[in-house]
């Protein structure tokens, strides 16, 4: 069952396009990027080349889990 944080991310990214994504610190998950204060500490930033990609939210990592607290 999706957590509240995961649902929020899904709602934010659903059907939208993004120029960049970040790899989570554990290297397992990919998150889209939009302007604002970076809440996620990323391991790396990826420029999405070619046509802008539509990303789906991936399972939350530990950083995002902390949003629930």
């Amino acid at each position: 069952m999706a957590s509240d944080a995961e649902k929020r991310i899904s709602e934010q990214v659903s059907g939208k396009t993004f120029d960049q994504a970040v790899i989570s610190l554990d290297g397992k998950h990919l998150y889209p990027v939009h302007a604002g204060i970076p809440l996620l500490i990323p391991q790396a930033v990826i420029d999405l080349s070619g046509p802008k990609s539509t990303l789906d939210a991936k399972p939350v990592d530990a950083n995002i889990r902390r949003l629930e607290r």
Binding site: Q20, V22, L25, V33, A35, G36, I37, P38, L39, I41, P42, Q43, A44, V45, A62, N63, R66, L67
Partner: protein, 153 residues
């Protein structure tokens, strides 16, 4: 821009005195004021921006690492400071463990891409166990700067 280019010896504290998160952040911001990277009259504004970010979620990401950061119209370029604690600092970290290494940085307002890439570069750098071991073993600010110069991307 490399991480090493963000730092000089006078932006490095090899032995933080602070024992808790807010004291440690203040200690590093004070260092940046003394080194002339932040104007004395701007320090409270910068501190407040960092506090707001920390209150959203601690930047203590585990493995003894914390990366407090914020954007501010009080800086014209990326300003960074590094602090090491030999005793460890209570930081409300992800893994609940004390923090030994703090890289604090401030990015000019509206430079989101720079903000994100700086954050990623620092996280990737400190995720390397060899880097953390060398930072622990370093004796002086000069030695610590040497680790950044040798190891950072």
């Amino acid at each position: 821009m490399t991480l090493a280019n963000l730092l000089s010896e006078d932006q490095i504290l090899p032995d933080l005195k602070a024992e808790v998160r807010w004291e440690a952040i203040s200690e590093i911001v004070d260092l940046l004021v003394r080194s002339g990277r932040i104007l004395p009259g701007d320090s409270e504004s910068v501190l407040e921006a960092i506090r707001q970010r920390e209150q959203t979620m601690s930047t203590g990401i585990g493995l003894g690492i914390a990366i407090p950061h914020a954007s501010s119209d009080k800086v014209q370029e990326v300003v960074a400071g590094f602090g090491r604690s030999k005793r460890g600092i209570e930081f409300d970290s992800l893994d609940g463990q004390p923090v030994s290494f703090i890289v604090l940085f401030v990015v000019p307002k509206d430079q989101f891409q720079t903000h994100l890439r700086t954050l990623a570069a620092i996280a990737k750098f400190l995720n390397d166990r060899t880097v953390r071991d060398e930072l622990s073993a370093a004796n002086t600010a000069s030695d610590i700067l040497g680790v950044f110069q040798r190891r950072s991307p």
